[in-house]
Symmetry: C2
Subunit: 291 residues, 2 copies
């Protein structure tokens, strides 16, 4: 008695017949009974709850594969996963908002932000570093890990920019290419080895002296979520550096790492105690050799 045809079930669940047949094929929502002879699908009305759940999850743009997993696992776990997924959506949305703001301003003729390129001399220095191959998500996680390590144990203060933490993108970080990415914290020359003993997770190495071109990033340039994708400002800063190199008589190919590879350094100058949520001064730099 509580078996209904696909059409009836579609009406009640507000899903299309086409969708229901697809969900059957993908084993997301399988009818309670399929008539051997005719192939007709019959659903139990008790399946309506699951069907409506699927419909809602689809409205969140979750893939059928994901939905299938969610239906299979414990509801509480599912809730947690949905929450995580939502955070991703949130940060992607934030990123898009920034991009929209920039585009609307630019197209309206207001050039809101100007990326001014300057150069600076970086002397040789010792750095404690954490380097790993990561995907876009992992890049940000790596930073948080690095910060957590530094926060836990004592570190001699270094004044101003000299001691600013920075990260180096040694290669493209995207879905198919995974860096590596290195996070670095400069330490004083003397006693560096002794200091490094307190940080077995980190590597002590020497950053060679070089010149680099850089642009300061606006305050909201850091990715807000855990998405870790470059974001508008990183992109624009990269373009600014590239344009600077092209105009300034420096062959872009003489940038140590080519801008189009995002092989760039990001300097975080946190004047406040370093926390994972503070938004420090931040700039974007590329080492170069005079052309």
């Amino acid at each position: 008695m509580d078996e209904v045809s696909i059409g009836e079930f579609a009406r009640r669940s507000r899903l299309s017949v086409k969708a229901l047949r697809l969900y059957d094929e993908r084993a997301v929502l399988v009818p309670a009974r399929v008539d051997e002879a005719s192939g007709y699908r019959y659903y139990d009305v008790a399946q309506l709850e699951a069907a409506r759940l699927v419909a809602m999850l689809r409205q969140l743009d979750l893939s059928l594969a994901t939905i299938k997993e969610l239906l299979a696992c414990d509801p509480v776990d599912a809730a947690a996963r949905i929450k995580g997924y939502w955070r991703e959506l949130e940060s992607a949305h934030d990123e898009r908002r920034k991009l929209t703001d920039y585009l609307v301003n630019r197209l309206s003729g207001k050039r809101s932000v100007v990326y001014e390129v300057a150069t600076r001399e970086i002397p040789e220095r010792r750095v404690l570093s954490l380097k790993r191959n990561v995907d876009p998500r992992g890049a940000w996680a790596l930073g948080k890990e690095f910060i957590a390590i530094l926060r836990d144990r004592p570190l001699p203060k270094m004044e101003g920019r000299e001691g600013a933490m920075f990260s180096i993108y040694w290669g493209d970080v995207s879905a198919d290419s995974d860096g590596p990415v290195e996070w670095c914290k400069p330490v004083p020359e003397e006693g560096a080895e002794a200091l490094a003993l307190h940080y077995p997770e980190l590597t002590l190495r020497t950053e060679p002296a070089h010149r680099e071109a850089y642009v300061a990033l606006p305050n909201d340039a850091l990715p807000t979520g855990s998405s870790g994708n470059p974001g508008v400002h990183w992109q624009l800063a990269g373009e600014a550096l590239q344009a600077w190199a092209a105009e300034g008589g420096i062959d872009p190919r003489h940038l140590t790492i080519k801008p189009e590879d995002l092989g760039m350094r990001v300097t975080y100058l946190a004047t406040e105690p370093i926390t994972s949520t503070s938004a420090p001064y931040c700039d974007f730099a590329a080492p170069f050799a005079e052309g």
Copy 2:
């Protein structure tokens, strides 16, 4: 000299070669020159700006067709259109947030909102109404139009629920089916005709007496943007009514308008002066005949 091959152009614009070929085919971004003999595409470096714009617009999930239009029209107009598109994204995002909240609560075991169904007797009454066939977007616009008309000109006060504005969804309002939707404001029996003369845009008609089942909606149930799509709470309220009908011995088919058609009334009880942004008490009702 400033002509570059597709690979070089791809690197500089951070678009894939594959994407560039597609954009050429779709006439979104056509190479400056195509070699007759070899078919090689050559881009002008000046096209980089357009290419980066396309890349950004794609990050906003705009379709190639839309992007093509945006590139063709005046930048200021394009900015306006992007802003409008962003508002849509924003409201869709809000809707998804509500849905996520609900789902996470439900799956975690906390039944946050309970939809209690009650019934009420509606006497025959005169209403001023505005009825039109609309798509989901238009439904909300129609409401704003209706409110604007009522706000402009004097109207005798009616106390409490009696005078509450409401809308009737006479048919499914979705991408393929367009209602119609009717917005109504009850007016006192006496002098109704005279009053109606002040509102030539509106129709005066008589709502027959009936009984209806209804559920109160939470405060955040109204669509926030101009999307006008049903939203979670409308959906849940509809399900609650359907469940009530099934359990209460009333054949769902005896609901005047079937729940699955969303043929429902939404009552807005605005105690404040009616504005387009206030969030009034709101309920969701379906007339029915005893079964």
